[in-house]
């Protein structure tokens, strides 16, 4: 065709044709370059960007959506006390999850093809009602709230219960499987921490809660749970499984396992029994004396620094740490609730302060002025520096001028001439100020530093407070006289209880300042010990001989001095009382404390106990409303003495009696039934027992108590000569306030026996009986009655001239 045309149009046609073909060629080549190369270039650039430059980011996104991370829970380690009692243990509980969205999806609208959708709505409502009604009926959840939540269909994850126990979970499983609801209402395992001894040791153990960084996982808060969180929690394991977009696991996909590592088990140095003894004693003391600002007690092994018990009042129950359990705080809250209502700000403030108060470990986080308990430290410094000697004497005229100010002794008349030991027994402030003056501020300061008052103890608990002292410049400077003088008897210096008891341990263990601890050992889940506490000595502060001298002095305090209300026969208790003014509060309230240990020839346990601000009858009175003179010697020493006795009994420390004590120590009742009266009389006398008889015969027909019973020596047993022995119960009388003799005869009238504990001097009065008044007991029962004296050992300076740090 073209050839034909060419022939028809020779010349002009040809050149025109050539130009046209050139244009065709040029344009084709041009299009070829565009279509073959140019348009692919940006694709390759984009591919390089995605696959090389941003590869890591995209791969990360791919992996995160394509894999399912299944967490393998690690069991949290168990916390044991030193005897292996379980203090905290984790167990599996469940979260109850409702998926409102799944409930909505479970009814297919297409299955109900009526015009207005009524039957569909009815079917959906029926299913919702089924779930809501069952939940409300079974677990008592609020119906309205449930309806609200189930109708929030955007959500696929409504947590109805956080910690559901196995029995309840089983109910849920039954219900959902019977009604085919298991994708709408289901359980997720989680773990819960249980504290079998509830509040015992709560401050040391701590509790579990969620914090900002842990998300919805609970972690240890406070105490051992917090400090040893890493060890206890273990490593959460994971299984990474590839899945498709519908969440279905892929069999051909890859799987990776990261084993869960169970948490380590922690064994405390705390002994649950000793801890309970301390806490019970605190609770009892607080209740008896209406103590307003709480109380604390620590029991320490002075030879190792092991904390055997650490109690603080008020305390909480770590199983439910928000609940206010302390009766005193409860009462206060009720008063505020009654006055302002539970919705008032006052109530909420009070509730939150009560909450933080009960979580506070006073033994660790609070500081207080130790008062006379500090005095042996002053003496120890003087003895160690050989500035003081055991045969030194001190004169107390009732007042001493320090820096132009008079500082009074609690005995305004003065103690007169006293030896070193007697000065401490009397807790004489003037003598102590004299000693400190002789020691000098710089030396005294150096020893404060050596005794650790300027540093934390290093105990493995968080929140330890710092002791509050004057600065070194002030203390050793020209105006430091007053602070030196007041430090000598433990005022104007504020110490933490744990620091004070640790320092005290060094006074009685040969001068070794130790690091106290609460965790004895840590074991992995296979039982291998991964950590065991070694006794850590910070430094030796005083020599062995100084330590021995101090021991002999404080031993005398309990035997003869202001601490003798802590006396318990056979237990060889030594210690020092303290009644310190809370100068910085200016309320006139005092802290009544006692630091004691036993047995004094081989100290096994050192106890510090203090009651912060027992209630006074009037604002300027030194007596409680019940008439007890408020002092460490009267309020704390009897309780602490009893605590020491119980602890030593529990520890199985053998009692040793002095000759005097032996006279009243327990003896074994002999079998005298059938003997002639005269024979029986001889047997009983040999056993250090008195007797009375009922009836008139010559042959003993019955006896109280039965043979083999242990009764205190010197008790009067009852012999029946022909008369029938009554088998009825007798009611224990109230013996409080009676002298030992009066109490003994009152009890023996009822065929009960008195075991005398505590101090028993002529002026002593019964302060405590182990079987409360009104209890019905069989005849022949032994009632322990503790006697005590009124001790006046006020530490503060009544003139109030001493500035506080």
């Amino acid at each position: 065709m073209e050839r034909e045309q060419q022939q028809q149009q020779p010349q002009r046609r040809h050149s025109d044709h050539g130009r046209s073909n050139r244009s065709l060629f040029r344009r084709t080549v041009c299009l070829m370059l565009v279509m073959g190369i140019a348009i692919f270039t940006p694709m390759i650039a984009q591919l390089v960007k995605l696959q090389i430059v941003e590869h890591d980011a995209w791969e990360q996104r791919a992996v995160s959506q394509q894999t399912k991370n299944v967490t393998l829970g690690a069991n949290r380690g168990t916390i044991y006390d030193t005897q292996g009692r379980v203090m905290a243990i984790s167990a599996t509980v469940y979260r109850l999850i409702l998926s409102p969205n799944a409930v909505l999806q479970s009814i297919d609208e297409e299955d109900y093809p009526d015009e207005d959708g009524t039957t569909y709505q009815q079917a959906l409502q029926a299913r919702r009602d089924l779930i809501v009604n069952w939940l409300a009926a079974t677990f008592g959840y609020d119906r309205d709230r449930l309806v609200q939540r189930i109708e929030f269909t955007k959500s696929g994850y409504e947590i109805l219960a956080y910690e559901m126990e196995e029995e309840q979970a089983e109910l849920v499983r039954q219900f959902t499987s019977e009604n085919y609801l298991s994708n709408m209402l289901y359980l997720e395992p989680t773990s819960k921490r249980y504290y079998p001894y509830s509040s015992v040791g709560s401050h040391v153990l701590g509790f579990m809660n969620q914090n900002e960084s842990s998300g919805d996982r609970k972690v240890g808060a406070q105490g051992v749970e917090a400090i040893y969180e890493d060890a206890l929690s273990g490593e959460v394991g994971r299984v990474v499984i590839s899945k498709n977009a519908q969440g279905v696991e892929m069999m051909s996909g890859y799987e990776m396992y990261f084993d869960a590592e169970n948490g380590y088990d922690v064994t405390l140095s705390i002994d649950e029994r000793i801890q309970a003894i301390l806490e019970n004693a605190l609770a009892e003391g607080v209740e008896t004396y209406n103590v307003t600002d709480g109380a604390f007690a620590i029991a320490l092994d002075p030879n190792t620094g092991a904390v055997l018990g650490m109690a603080s009042c008020p305390k909480f129950d770590p199983n439910d740490y928000v609940e206010i359990t302390d009766p005193y705080l409860q009462e206060q809250l009720q008063q505020i609730a009654a006055a302002h209502g539970t919705d008032s700000d006052e109530y909420k403030d009070a509730l939150s302060s009560a909450f933080s108060l009960q979580l506070r470990n006073k033994a660790l986080m609070d500081t207080y002025e130790p008062g006379s308990v500090f005095k042996p430290i002053t003496v120890a410094i003087g003895l160690e520096e050989q500035i003081l000697h055991m045969d030194d004497t001190f004169y107390c005229g009732g007042v001493k001028m320090v820096g132009g100010w008079p500082i009074h002794c609690h005995e305004h008349a003065g103690h007169g001439m006293q030896s070193l030991t007697v000065a401490v027994e009397n807790s004489c402030n003037v003598a102590l100020m004299d000693m400190a003056e002789r020691i000098g501020a710089q030396t005294y300061w150096d020893y404060l530093e050596d005794f650790g008052f300027l540093e934390p103890t290093g105990i493995d608990l968080s929140g330890e407070a710092k002791c509050i002292t004057h600065s070194e410049e002030d203390f050793t400077g020209p105006y430091g006289d007053a602070s030196l003088a007041t430090y000598s008897f433990g005022q104007t210096i504020k110490v933490t209880p744990i620091r004070l008891i640790t320092t005290w341990a060094s006074l009685i263990n040969g001068g070794h300042l130790l690091e106290p601890y609460v965790v004895q050992s840590i074991r992995d889940s296979a039982g291998n010990t991964v950590y065991n506490h070694e006794v850590t000595e910070v430094r030796q502060v005083i020599s062995q001989s100084t330590s021995e001298k101090i021991q002999s002095i404080v031993q005398a305090v309990v035997n003869d001095g202001s601490g003798h209300n802590a006396y318990q026969a056979g237990y060889r208790i030594a210690g020092k009382t303290g009644t310190s003014e809370k100068k910085d509060e200016d309320t006139g309230d005092v802290v009544c404390s006692f630091m004691g240990y036993a047995p004094y020839d081989d100290p096994k346990v050192l106890v510090l106990m203090a009651f912060d601000a027992p209630e006074r009858s009037e604002s300027n009175s030194n007596y409680t409303p019940s008439g007890t003179y408020i002092s460490g010697g009267n309020i704390t020493a009897p309780v602490a003495g009893r605590v020491l006795k119980e602890i030593l009994d529990y520890m199985g420390v053998e009692k040793k009696f002095s000759d005097m004590e032996l006279a009243t120590s327990d003896v074994l009742m002999q079998y005298v039934v059938g003997s002639e009266l005269s024979v029986a009389m001889g047997t009983l006398r040999a056993a250090n027992l008195a007797f009375r008889y009922i009836g008139s015969g010559n042959i003993v027909t019955d006896q109280i108590p039965a043979a083999g019973t242990r009764i205190p020596g010197g008790s009067t047993v009852v012999l029946y000569l022909g008369d029938e022995k009554p088998t009825d119960l007798v009611t224990v009388p109230d013996v409080s306030g009676l002298s030992p003799d009066a109490a003994k005869s009152k009890l023996e009238e009822l065929s009960l026996f008195l075991r005398l504990t505590g101090t028993a001097q002529s002026g002593s009065k019964a302060v405590y009986q182990n079987i409360p008044e009104g209890t019905e007991v069989p005849r022949g029962t032994v009632v322990d009655v503790q006697f005590g004296d009124t001790i006046i050992d006020y530490d503060g300076d009544p003139s109030g001239a001493i500035p506080n740090p």
Binding site: L24, I39, F40, Q51, H55
Partner: protein
């Protein structure tokens, strides 16, 4: 048919020049590239669609019966059919297409109208694009694309014949005549029929709606018009109008604005198209340099929607990495370039224009598809030739290649001039 023709030929003593030319050797490099791409396409589709077929996530839309090979089997059948069709077409003297083009164009326009008649058209995803004839669904727009190229090439190849002729006379007395004379002066009159046909087809496609079909029809037509020597001024003018229109559509219509936004930030709306774009980029990006290995894609496990349709290439990139992706692009580029090379050497203008049209169509499809998959351009919905699932598209693509091969047979002879 071949048998039938051989009988007829035996009856004749000699073959005409035309017939001899039509029996020339086929262009083997081009054939090899087509077969290679078809094979790779099938393998890629098998890998990409495996999980979808197995999990059968939307049985009411497309029931695979849980057969992982479902898509592969269907596509494989069409591929065999398509290759056979391609070889048969390559045997046909492409000069016959000169008259077929006009008829084909007419038929496709009729079919496009039929699609729009309710009851005849088959709808999916809110668009009515298919005709169901005897159990086989068929997409007329695919045919229309090819026919536009053939018809335009056929008409434009005669264009130069009129060059140099004295200007046509018009009756100046009528207003129409004056207008025609005025229009003829700068070639508008010549372009009118093309423009009208194009507008009719575009309107029909817009009615479906079929955005990607419109783009491709335009590309096919434009490439043929461009090469045939239409004044560049027209392209500049139409380009300007097109760009302006596009700008208006993008900024003024919510639909397009949203698409553009999605493209710029696929994460902005994961519920809708953004999810697909995002997942596609996750697939491509996670492939890295070497890829995860053939068959090891993880994105195909239902993360990437439509992985068997427009997004086969993402899975390919994920499995074969940058190396595999670039290799594939090079294969496509070679196919295009070889096509254009054939166009340059074609026996006549008609052959050149045919190849230019079909090659440009292929190139545009590849570029648009890869551009979307890699996030370089906004979503268009254009499938990847030889790779994406779709019987009609594969058949038409292979038939187009058959036409190019047919043109290639007549190259060995010296160019006719």
């Amino acid at each position: 048919m071949a048998l039938f023709r051989r009988k007829r030929r035996k009856a004749k003593r000699d073959l005409t020049v035309e017939e001899q030319l039509a029996r020339g050797p086929i262009d083997l490099p081009f054939l090899a590239l087509v077969l290679l791409l078809t094979t790779i396409g099938l393998i890629a589709l098998l890998s990409a669609s495996f999980a979808y077929g197995m999990y059968n996530p939307y049985p009411n839309i497309q029931d695979t019966g849980g057969d992982p090979y479902y898509f592969f089997k269907h596509q494989g059948g069409y591929a065999i059919l398509g290759v056979v069709a391609m070889l048969v077409i390559s045997k046909v003297d492409y000069q016959r297409l000169r008259w077929m083009g006009a008829v084909g164009l007419f038929v496709s326009i009729v079919l496009l109208i039929l699609v729009l008649i309710p009851g005849l058209g088959v709808s999916a995803n809110g668009a009515t694009r298919w005709l169901k004839i005897g159990g086989v669904t068929f997409q007329p727009s695919e045919l229309a694309k090819a026919m536009v190229v053939i018809a335009f090439a056929s008409k434009l190849s005669q264009r130069k014949d009129r060059k140099g002729l004295p200007p046509r006379k018009f009756n100046r007395r009528t207003r129409w005549g004056r207008f025609c004379e005025w229009a003829d002066k700068f070639g508008l009159l010549e372009l009118m029929p093309y423009g009208i046909i194009l507008l009719i087809i575009l309107a029909l496609l817009a009615k479906e709606p079929h955005m990607s079909g419109m783009i491709l029809v335009c590309v096919g037509a434009a490439s043929v018009l461009f090469v045939s020597g239409i004044s560049l001024g027209w392209f500049a003018a139409l380009g300007a109008i097109g760009a302006g229109g596009l700008w208006l559509i993008i900024t003024k219509t919510e639909y397009m604005t949203k698409r553009i936004e999605l493209w710029l930030d696929p994460m902005s709306d994961l519920q809708n198209g953004g999810y697909q774009l995002y997942q596609s980029q996750v697939a491509v990006g996670s492939g890295g340099l070497l890829g995860k290995g053939l068959g090891n894609s993880t994105q195909k496990y239902l993360y990437l929607p439509e992985m068997q349709n427009d997004f086969v290439f993402s899975i390919w990139c994920e499995e074969m990495g940058l190396i595999g992706a670039v290799l594939l692009i090079i294969l496509f580029a070679l196919l295009i370039i070889r096509g254009f090379w054939l166009a340059l050497h074609a026996r006549d203008r008609f052959g050149t224009l045919l190849i230019v049209g079909f090659s440009s169509l292929t190139a545009a499809q590849v570029a648009f598809n890869m551009g979307v998959v890699t996030g370089a351009i906004p979503t268009t919905g254009i499938s990847l030739p030889f790779f994406s699932y779709g019987g009609t598209a594969l058949l038409v693509n292979l038939a187009e290649m058959g036409v190019i091969l047919s043109v290639s047979r007549q190259i060995t002879a010296p160019k006719s001039q």
